[in-house]
Each structure stands twice: as C-alpha cells, then as structure tokens.
C-alpha cells in the first residue's frame, strides 16, 4: 500500500513537478486522516480516487487545456448515450478490452523490467565486461570471471579503453558482519571488493558521505541504505564507523548509497576497497569480474580482434582462451556464461511473454471488432434514417469511430487503474520489486494515448465502414445480410488460432517445467540439513570430534563435509584425469566434489559398482577415488579391480585407484547435461564449505537445537545458520515457477476473452438467422436439428483454426524445447486437449444462444413481415 502511494506520488512528480509538492501534501494529509478512521485499505481506495481526479490538473499543467475539443463534444455525447442505452454490448466489449489491456499492461511491465537491466548507468552503453572463454573442442567453458591482470593490461595497452574496474565477490559465501557498535554479528550477502574506479564507472545513488572517491584507500568501505539502517540505525550515523567482516578485517564506512535497483545484474550491499590487505601482485592473480569503459565511439569488435594476439603473448599453452568484451546491457538476457553473479534472465521466456502479450491484445481487439460489427448490424436502421436525413458518410464514420475510441479509452483507463491496483500482486507474482519510475513518463502516456486511438480507429473502422456503406434503400427494403461473412470468419479463425496456440503452448511449457522440477536428480534432498561452514575454523580443525559429537544424537543419521552443494557451480573445481596407462590424448576434463566420508549416504546417492569410501581402508583418504557413470563411460572403465587413473597437475599429479562408480546424479543444474565427475575424499578441510546432515524429522526441533548447541560450543563467535537442501533446490527454479504461474493466469484470461468474443459473435450471427430458423421451424425442424445447424459453423471454424495453427505451434515449441538439456517430447495429446479447451466453452456459449433462438415461437419473429 505504501509502495502504491509512493508510485502515485512519483507519477504526479514526474508529470507536474511545479505543483507536485502542494498536491502531494494534500493527498498525504487526507490519506493519513483516512487511514485513522477507515484503515489502510479504505485510505488507499480514497487516495486512488482522489488521484484520478487530478488527471485533469495534470493535463492542464502540460498544456492540454489549450486544445479545444468543442467540435467533438456533441459526438462524444451521442456516443456516450449509445453506450449507456445498450448496456450488454458496452459491458461485454468493455470487459474484454479491459481484461485484455490489463493483462498486456502487466506483461508489458514485466517485460519492460526484464529488458531494461543495467541501463540506469550513465555510461551503460560504453561499459563492457571482459570475459574469458576457455571453450575448446572437448568442452564448453565460457566463464564470466577472469584473472585480475587482464583488465589493467588492456587498459594500458589500448587507447580506446578509458578505465577498468575489478569486482571480487565472496563466491557465494555469506559474510559475518559486526560493527564497532554491535558485537553479535549477522550473515550478509552482497559483500564485494572493488577498485576505486567502481564509483566513477557504475552509477550509485549517494545518500551521504564522500561521493568522489570513497573506496580509494585500503580499509574503506561504502554500504547501502539497508545495511546502514540495520547496523547503525540510520543513514547519517554510519559515516566513520567500523564494519568488521568475518572477525578479521575492519573497514571504515566512507559513504552510503541507495540500495541498487532490482534491474542490476549484481547487487552489492557493501563494497570495500580492493586494496585492503592485498598487494598488486595478488590482485593480478585473483579471479574477479572485470569491467572496462570504452571511450566515446570506440568499437568493441575492433578490440576483440586485437585480443588473440595479446593472449598469445601472455599464455603459453596449446589451447588459448578467447578473450572478448561483452556489453553490460546484454549480460542479463543474452549471456549464458558460467559463474555469473546472480542467476540471469531467460531470453526465450521473455520472448514467450512478449508473444503472449500481443496475442492477448490481439484477441481482445478482434473481440472488439466482432462485437462492434455485430452490434453495428443492429443499428443499420438508425444509420439508414440518418442517411435519409442527409448525413454525410464522413460524419457517420466519425461518430462510429469515436464510439469505439470512447470504449477503448474507458477500457484503457480501467486497465491503467487496475494494473496500478494490481501492482503489488504483480510484484508478488514475479517475486521481485519493480522500479516503475521510468515507466509512467509523459512519453509513455503519449504512446498509450496514441494507442487508444489506433485501437479505437482500427477496430472501429471496419464496422464503421461496413455499416455506413449500405444504401438506405437496401436497409429498409430487406433484412440485412450481416456483413461480409468472409472477413468475420477470418477474424474468428485468427482468434481461435491464437487461443489454441496459447493453450497448446502453455501446456507444453507447463509440462516441461513440471518435468524439469520433478525430474529425479539422483539426489534425495528431503530431510537433509545444510550447515554452511565458511570461516568456521574451529570446526574445520576438529571436524572428526564435531561430527562424532553430533552423531551421538539419535535424530542424526549421517554427516558429511563437502566443498560445494550440488547446483553450486561457482564453488566447483575442475581438473583433468586419464587412465593410468593412457596417453595425454585421452585426457578428460572432470568436475570435482571435494567430500568426506558418508557423502554417498547423506545425499542418498547410489553406488552402481564397487564400494563407498570406508574408514576401514587407510588409503581411502589418499589414494582412492569415486567417479560417476559418465566419467566411467568416457574413460572406458569396466573392471574396477585393475583400474587406476592418473590425475594431472591441477589435481596434484597423483595416481588414484577407482574404488567405486556412482550412479549419475545432477550435480549441476538441470539446465546442464551430466558431466564427468570425480568425488574426492581428502582429509584436508580448508576447501570444505558445507556440512550436510541427514536427519530424522520426527523430533526436528530437538535435533536442530542439539546441532545448534554443539555448534555453539565450538564456534561461540559465529551465529549458527542452516537450511534444508530441498528448499535450496526449489529456490534454484523460482524463475521457472514464476514464468509458469504467469503463463497459466494469462492463458486462462485469453480463453475467457476469446469466449466472450465468441458469445458476441454467436449473438450476431444467430440474430441474423432468426428468420431462417423460424421458417425452418414452421416447416417442421426440431430444436435439436436447429441446434446442430447453428452450431456446426462454429465447430468448423474451430477445426480449421486448429489445422492451420498446429504445425506452427509444433515448430515453435520444438524450438523452445531444444534449449533444454532434459526435455519432454511434444505429446499429440496436448493438441487434442487444447482444442477441447477451446471447443467446450465455445460450444457452450454458442449452444446457449442457439437454443435461445431455436426456442422462440416463429409467430413472434415472422409476424413483423
């Protein structure tokens, strides 16, 4: 509610800045007063109503009062009366239009948001990310990260590059933050180190403090509003205070910035100077995200062509990485790199939504056209009289078009208000906060108004032309034939095609995403608790003792330490192996889990051959290794007793015995196929960042508090933190779930609108056949036969649309599915189902109308003639 208020205020501010203060003050006062007497909801409703009354004020303010509308007023009055006189027509067409427009506005907001990532930086068009592509013949390794030396090097080397910044995140671990005022810390995300140039390359909205060069000195840090309020009780108190990270380093706050907008591909809460505790040499070696700003007019392609030479000068290897510049604004939607800051968006999902938005809009427009044609046919007598009395065709046209423009305008008005009211729900549905300040600008409103007239004109023009074209003689002499059936039918076919496409499409998407989520990952994440171990030095030092103590509890089944969670790619190592007697040619690139005893049992994995690590064999921590089926297949391992592998330097040049083969499981995301994997069991714990505990959930509370107590006795300075593995997996697919929810809602909406249109169309067509029906009835046709006669035409239309659209849908869906590593096959049943979904409500509404007409006593119809 507060956000809605702020949004409305921002609209006033944008559109009428001079009077904004005054009007906002009054609105605020009324709002406060109303929220005391009527509660929040009542106050908000009041606020929205008052806001709407300010439209004219805002228009006047922008010079609209100078435009004289008098020539139109009579027409508007006439149109208004026509609408009020025919409530069923007005309500049905308004309902369809409003729903359609609201849905497309909401989709527009969503798509606008997805398409506008990272555009808020002033230099956005000149900022590029320097990335490192290690892809070679055998594998695909496009990385978003790079070592520190490259960005300064190319800035030095090429005059086109203006500046660079390197950002080092905490690689997925949370930071324990304490201050000089609060000694009980909290774990926070979004801690980063960056070069001092960060603030001159990326735009932050400053609140207080040094804006010029706040992170130039070592141990300086800038924090966002949220952290400032949480730790220092306010933005103003933060400056000069100390923030401590992980009981190690102190940083002094030099400035506070506003929380970064949701449309940023990374979200920093705290940015510390990269100079802190590092030497230049170290900084050059660290992996980080590197960004460069090019000078005005510089071409990134030109630089991309120069890079291979530079790379070959600095790297001595057979396969050279490909260095290239990636535009900042394309990172969110176009990038498919590994080790991204945050999950990026999905271009094909955005495309689907753009398509859905247009479909819904189109369906709503066609509806409107069909309805106004239908209704126009009823009005031929009125038009005829007008013509006889000397009305020009132009003035008739003007009035008819204006009528549809009026409905469109009211529809758009409703849609805008509805979408504002539904905004909080849109946000909840999408699952992120949207920034709307750049959406409701005068420009966009002008576009919206233009749109009103375009839709109004287009959908008003056909019925208007058709209705006004009749010669009065024809109108009065014989019953109207009801327009050109071909156009009417073509429009309905298009409408059905779109509905069928939407339904079939969304069922496919739904099934794929369903399949995706329910796909057996090979891991049993239920009842598995994850405890992050970052910086828990005491536990790492004595993990045997810690584990032993935990295992005493009856609620705990097994425990294992590990380097990264499944799906947590950023922490995964990569290495090379080959069979002991193989050659370098057979080298295989593998992913590595650095684990501990009981890894298999805790995650619920299966051994297909051989055995798990066991404490009974002393060599299991030094000379043994587990591999997955994919790796075994790639190496051609069949007999375990004689199989040893050799690991290359990135795995310490060791000879290891394969003691078991693990059934393939999805250790990365379901977006990726299963790659060769090696599961290590090293005694060293420096690399272990997570502890996974399989527990019995019978006495969950007791078990959890036991773990927490034990943790406390080891790590008194560190807050205990834990979460369940299945919840973590679920959270990985929230984007897909959001898309699914939205798609279902919009599809149902589209079906509803289409049926509304069909109902209107049926009314129109059937009314024109009333006489025919009556004559048939007199000649002895039964109600059933008449029903068949009248309904048949619509069934034909639906079948034709179905055959026209199916190949297209099949092609598009096949295309969409090909992006997934694990996908469903398109089931013909989907098509059957989608035609049923269209057919059933369509038949229902047509039958309803047919029966109504078939039941009429012929006497009442025919007596008029």
């Amino acid at each position: 509610m507060e956000r809605l208020k702020r949004l409305l205020f921002r609209i006033i501010e944008k559109l009428a800045p001079e009077i904004a203060e005054n009007v906002k003050g009054d609105l605020e006062e009324l709002y406060q007063r109303a929220s005391e007497s009527k509660g929040k909801l009542g106050a908000t409703v009041l606020l929205v109503i008052e806001f709407i009354t300010c439209f004219k004020l805002i228009l006047n303010h922008n010079g609209f009062n100078k435009i004289k509308l008098t020539p139109f007023t009579t027409d508007v009055k006439m149109s208004w009366r026509v609408l009020v006189k025919n409530p069923s027509y007005s309500v049905v067409s308004l309902l369809g239009l409003t729903l359609g427009l609201t849905a497309s506005l909401m989709i527009f907001i969503y798509v606008h948001n997805e398409l506008n990532y990272d555009r808020h930086h002033q230099k956005a068009n000149r900022i590029y990310r320097l990335v490192y592509d290690l892809t070679d013949r055998s594998e695909n390794l496009p990385w978003a990260i790079i070592t520190g030396k490259w960005a300064p090097m190319i800035t030095d080397q090429y005059s086109e590059v203006e500046n660079f910044v390197r950002i080092t995140p905490t690689w997925g671990s949370k930071s324990l933050i304490k201050t000089n005022q609060i000694n009980t810390g909290f774990y926070e995300e979004g801690f980063m180190w960056a070069d001092s140039t960060f603030t001159s390359i990326f735009d932050l909205e400053w609140l207080v403090g040094d804006r010029e060069n706040p992170i130039a000195k070592p141990n300086s840090i800038i924090i966002n509003e949220e952290i400032a309020v949480k730790y220092f009780g306010g933005v103003d108190n933060a400056i000069g205070n100390v923030i401590n990270r992980d009981n190690e380093t102190d940083y002094i706050v030099t400035a506070v910035f506003k929380n970064m907008p949701s449309t940023s591909h990374f979200h920093a809460q705290m940015i510390a100077s990269i100079m802190t505790g590092t030497t230049e040499e170290e900084r050059d070696k660290f992996w980080n995200y590197s960004y460069v700003v090019l000078k005005d007019g510089a071409k990134p392609d030109h630089l991309n062509k120069l890079f291979p030479k530079l790379v070959s000068q600095h790297i001595d290897s057979a396969t050279l990485p490909r260095l290239y510049l990636q535009p900042l604004t394309s990172i969110y939607l176009d990038s498919q790199l590994m080790y991204e800051f945050e999950p990026v968006g999905n271009k094909s999902t955005v495309r689907i939504f753009i398509g859905v938005g247009f479909f819904i809009l189109f369906i709503a427009c066609i509806n409107f056209i069909n309805l106004s044609t239908a209704y126009g046919a009823k009005r031929t007598k009125e038009i005829g009289i007008k013509k006889v009395l000397g009305a020009h065709r132009f003035s008739l046209l003007k009035q008819l078009v204006l009528e549809s423009a009026l409905i469109t305008m009211i529809g758009i008005g409703f849609a805008v208000v509805l979408s504002i009211l539904l905004f909080p729900y849109t946000e909840a549905l999408i699952g992120k906060q949207l920034d709307l300040s750049h959406l409701y600008t005068l420009n966009n409103i002008a576009i919206l108004l233009g749109f009103v007239f375009l839709i109004g004109f287009l959908s008003g023009a056909y019925p208007a032309l058709y209705v006004s074209s009749h010669k009065p003689v024809n109108i009065f002499a014989k019953a109207s034939s009801g327009g050109r059936p071909f156009i009417r039918k073509a429009l309905s076919v298009i409408q059905f095609m779109m509905s069928i496409a939407l339904i079939a499409g969304s069922i496919t998407v739904y099934k794929q995403l369903q399949y995706f989520q329910s796909k057996d990952t090979g891991i049993q994440p239920e009842q598995v608790l994850v405890v992050p171990l970052d910086y828990a030095q005491n536990i790492k030092k004595d993990h045997h003792g810690f584990k032993a103590e935990l295992e005493q509890h009856s609620g705990i089944k097994s425990i294992s330490l590990m380097s990264s969670l499944p799906g947590e790619l950023i922490r995964m190592w990569v290495g090379d192996i080959r069979l002991l007697h193989g050659t370098d040619e057979d080298k295989l690139r593998v992913k590595i889990f650095d684990s501990d005893y009981d890894f298999i049992e805790t995650l619920g994995l299966q051994i297909v051959k051989g055995r798990d690590y066991s404490r009974d064999y002393a060599t299991d921590t030094t000379r043994a290794v587990l591999i997955n089926e994919t790796a075994a297949k790639a190496l051609g391992i069949t007999n375990l007793d004689t199989t040893s592998i050799y690991t290359y330097s990135n795995l310490q040049n060791k000879e290891l015995k394969v003691i078991g083969i693990v059934k393939d499981f999805h250790f990365a995301s379901l977006h990726n196929i299963i790659e060769p994997l090696v599961i290590y069991n090293r005694a060293e714990t420096d690399n272990k960042t997570k502890m996974v505990v399989r527990i019995d959930t019978k006495d969950l509370y007791n078990t959890l508090s036991y773990i927490e107590e034990t943790w406390g006795s080891y790590e008194p300075d560190r807050t205990f933190e834990s979460y369940f593995l299945d919840a973590y997996f679920q959270s990985k697919y929230t984007k897909e779930q959001t898309a699914m929810k939205l798609l279902i809602i919009f599809t149902f909406l589209a079906i509803f609108i289409a049926c509304l249109g069909l109902f209107g169309l049926a009314t129109y067509v059937l009314q024109n056949r009333q006489k025919e029906v009556s004559v048939r009835k007199v000649l002895g046709a039964s109600v059933g036969q008449l029903w068949l006669l009248l309904t048949r035409e619509f069934v034909w239309l639906i079948l034709i649309s179905f055959f026209l659209v199916s190949p297209l849908v099949y092609y598009l869906m096949e295309n969409w599915l090909s992006d997934f590593a694990y996908r469903i096959d398109i089931d013909p049943l989907i098509f059957l189902f989608s035609i049923l979904i269209v057919l059933v409500p369509a038949l229902f509404s047509v039958s309803f109308k047919s029966m109504e007409i078939a039941k009429v006593n012929p006497k009442d119809v025919l007596s008029g003639d």
Binding site: I19, E21, N22, V23, K24, G25, D26, L27, E28, E29, L30, Q32, R33, I49, E50, F51, I52, T53, C54, F55, K56, L57, N60
Partner: protein, 106 residues
C-alpha cells in the same frame, strides 16, 4: 458581471478562503466547503480551480512550513487578493440586488 464572472464553484472556494483567513490551504478549504455545503470537492478539481483563480489574479498563494501529518511536505496557503475580494463583493452585491427585486408571489 462581464469579465469578472465567477462560477459557483470558484465563488465557493473564494468564500471558503475568506472564511478560513490565515489557515486556507488545500485540505482545509476542502473541509470548509464540505461542512458548509455538504458537497465534497475532489482534490483534483479543487487545485484546478485554485490554479485558475490564481491565474486570474483573484487569489494569491505562498508556501508555509512543513508539518508531520503531510509527511514533511510544505503547505501552500491561499488568500484573496484585493481584486479577488472586490470581485467577490461585486458578485455578492449583484446577487443581493437582484434577490431584493424578486417579485414576491402574492
């Protein structure tokens, strides 16, 4: 009458401003009109009219201090100009004059 013709709504607003004296701003004018006439002017209509009156030179306005109930926003106070008061008086007098001339039904 003529050029200085005041609409009913405008006249009511000016009267409310006159009644309120030093305390005439958006919400108080709205409240005053509501209690006196039982009609609820909307904020949008009110400000549109106020702006028109100001453009015509019938009222003038200045910014006052910020208050808490307005979320720290400043009030804009209105008062009748001498010209405004004159127009109002004129309208009033014309009306009184005409009212006194009504031919009473026998």
């Amino acid at each position: 009458m003529g050029k200085n013709y005041l609409g009913e709504f405008e006249e009511l607003i000016m009267l409310a401003i006159g009644v309120l004296g030093d305390n005439a701003y958006g919400v108080s004018i709205k409240d005053e009109m509501q209690t006196r006439t039982k009609k609820k002017p909307s904020i949008g209509a009110l400000h549109t009219a106020l702006q028109r009156l100001e453009n015509k030179g019938l009222v003038e306005s200045w910014e006052g201090g910020a208050t808490n109930e307005r979320g720290g926003r400043k009030k804009r106070f209105y008062k009748l100009t001498i010209f405004g008061l004159k127009s109002l008086t004129q309208a009033h007098e014309t009306r009184n004059e005409m009212f006194s001339l009504i031919v009473k039904p026998a």
